[in-house]
């Protein structure tokens, strides 16, 4: 697509689509959606919180280009379910949406994953445009085409790869994001530094107070660099057969902690704790440089993120939850582990390292 109305915007190649980043970009969303995924019917899927702030102007602007309907889900991970997916689908069917429909995901990671899965499966697939409004969704969830919902057994266990037609990021929408969610998003940015770019890791440290206050200049640069790192990985390995697994650093234990906490931990908070624990695992196995875990822990603390599991969570329950992880293979739980800040280990094992339960118990204790 041409970056209609987006002069001066940053545009990153994510493979079959682009990620456009700017301050105030939301005023151009409609034109850019129509350019990237023209349709007869546009369906804006959002949640109650984001919808109240940003849905109305988008719906009005899209109405100049076609039929528009708007769907809302209650905010929160608890609603990223098959039931929400079925309800949204049925509502689109009742509205008469055909195959010539474009879905717009306006919200955080929950909305992006859920609306993406609706689009992936609606009449065997209609286009989706991702308009992420949380830091986590901007730098992680909206890029890479993963969509899905949670089940009682765990997160994202049901889903599909469904790359968006375009990703539109207005960093101004972060101004209304609660501080805990800003911090949670920073956890994934720090992860990008660990897996691929030591300078970036240092820069986040130097600018952490600007970033926590979402000052525009620093925030745009953060989103741009994180999207560059993630896009490069996803372009090289869209289906997570190898390199893409490096993005799972912190996530084997992170997902398990999040699940066992009953989602009282935010995803980014759980990943923060997961990164510290998994970096310690990597040091104990002898594949990470000594001090790696400490450096990660120090930066996470400066970003006001948690670095150890809540005492209320049973280590055995967390261990058990890892066994149901999607990354489990041949019955063994695997990890993506760092060799140091900026470099991941295990290329010769497809970036997927088995770790025995005993060691995991040690770091969880």
């Amino acid at each position: 697509m041409s970056a209609a109305g987006a002069e001066g915007s940053r545009s990153i190649d994510a493979g079959s689509y682009r990620v456009i980043i700017d301050t105030g970009l939301r005023h151009d969303y409609a034109a850019m959606i129509v350019a990237a995924a023209p349709a007869h019917h546009y369906v804006v899927i959002t949640d109650d919180t984001v919808g109240a702030q940003y849905a109305e102007p988008l719906v009005v602007a899209l109405a100049r280009h076609g039929r528009v309907s708007s769907e809302r889900v209650p905010a929160g991970e608890a609603h990223k379910t098959r039931d929400s997916w079925a309800r949204l689908t049925d509502s689109m069917l009742a509205t008469g949406c055909g195959r010539d429909t474009t879905v717009i995901a306006l919200g955080g990671g929950v909305v992006g994953d859920l609306a993406g899965f609706v689009a992936a499966t609606y009449m065997r697939g209609v286009p989706v445009v991702q308009c992420p409004t949380s830091l986590l969704a901007m730098i992680d969830a909206s890029v890479g085409g993963k969509t899905g919902v949670d089940t009682a057994a765990g997160k994202n266990l049901v889903g599909a790869f469904h790359p968006p037609a375009v990703v539109l990021i207005d960093v101004e929408t972060l101004a209304t994001l609660p501080p805990a969610h800003r911090r949670a998003g920073l956890a994934e940015a720090i992860k990008h530094g660990v897996i691929a770019d030591a300078d970036y890791f240092e820069r986040i440290g130097a600018e952490v107070s600007d970033l926590l206050e979402v000052r525009p200049a620093a925030t745009v640069e953060l989103v741009v660099r994180s999207v560059e790192i993630k896009s490069a990985v996803v372009r090289a390995d869209p289906r997570e057969r190898g390199l893409r697994r490096t993005l799972n650093f912190g996530h084997t234990l992170g997902h398990a902690l999040e699940h066992v906490s009953g989602y009282s931990l935010l995803h980014g908070e759980a990943v923060a704790i997961g990164m510290v624990l998994e970096a310690r695992l990597a040091e104990r196995i002898g594949i990470a440089a000594s001090g790696t875990a400490k450096r990660i822990e120090a930066l996470l603390r400066r970003a006001e993120l948690p670095v150890e599991p809540p005492r209320s969570l049973s280590p055995e329950a967390v261990l058990e939850a890892t066994r149901r992880d999607k990354k489990a293979s041949k019955g063994a739980v695997t990890y993506s582990l760092p060799a140091g800040i900026g470099t991941m280990a295990g290329e010769e094992r497809d970036w997927s390292i088995e770790v025995g339960d005993a060691l995991v118990r040690e770091v969880l204790a």
Copy 2:
């Protein structure tokens, strides 16, 4: 894959996978599944009827190659639902199936579509092997990668494209298929003749009694030719952007009739009626050679298939149901129509022809 244990079998290129056809092929299923989609865990999904006949030997044979579990759904279109999909998924999660799982769909079109959708969405996609046991599934549903489930609003409205790793067809399994289902399968074979091969259309007419009795030689040739025709179309247009739409001949009205009948019409029966009505539409519009509808009707009658809508179905309800068809575009209902036996019309319109309600009412009356 190599056609392990399948010397003398017919093998057809369907794009990213092959379709293997033979009598008695089921005795080689396990080896061929393991060759095409090796996994840690094999899940055989079948229905009560087919499962009772064919599941046990397959499960025993697969158990030599990995963990095996077996899942059953009640037979019939009424069970091709999101609920069945969720139940199968949850059962696989409870069994501890990871990403290194291969799903085997052993049954008719319902099992193939449902198990295919389970595989398409399980942890964002695991391989599926299609082992169709009904004529309809052999020559149509199992080839082309369409998977999905029905909703209250209509058939296959939720689903995904998920090509199988391989399709394994043992025509001997047709011996236990009820006669009405044999006839229903022939409707799709006749459709293949209409859309692409006048000689094949004639040959079905010449051998119709052998085919209704599923004599092996004639049946293998029928399955081979139909799979060749369907595979060629699907290879050229996997995502149904153009040419693949020709396979929808008879299906706009067919799906509507099937839905309004409450699925008391078998899919092939509904398609038989749909082909006669849509051929008449094509003649009235002036795009089909005169007599096309009559020739199709005569062959369908010889195959003991219905050729007119049950009187109990309201034409208005059928018309209304077409509006919710996936093929509807910009609010208009579109049809794939023949120019004559062996040739489809409308290439310049991407094989998708709008027809006004008034004409559809006439042919439904």
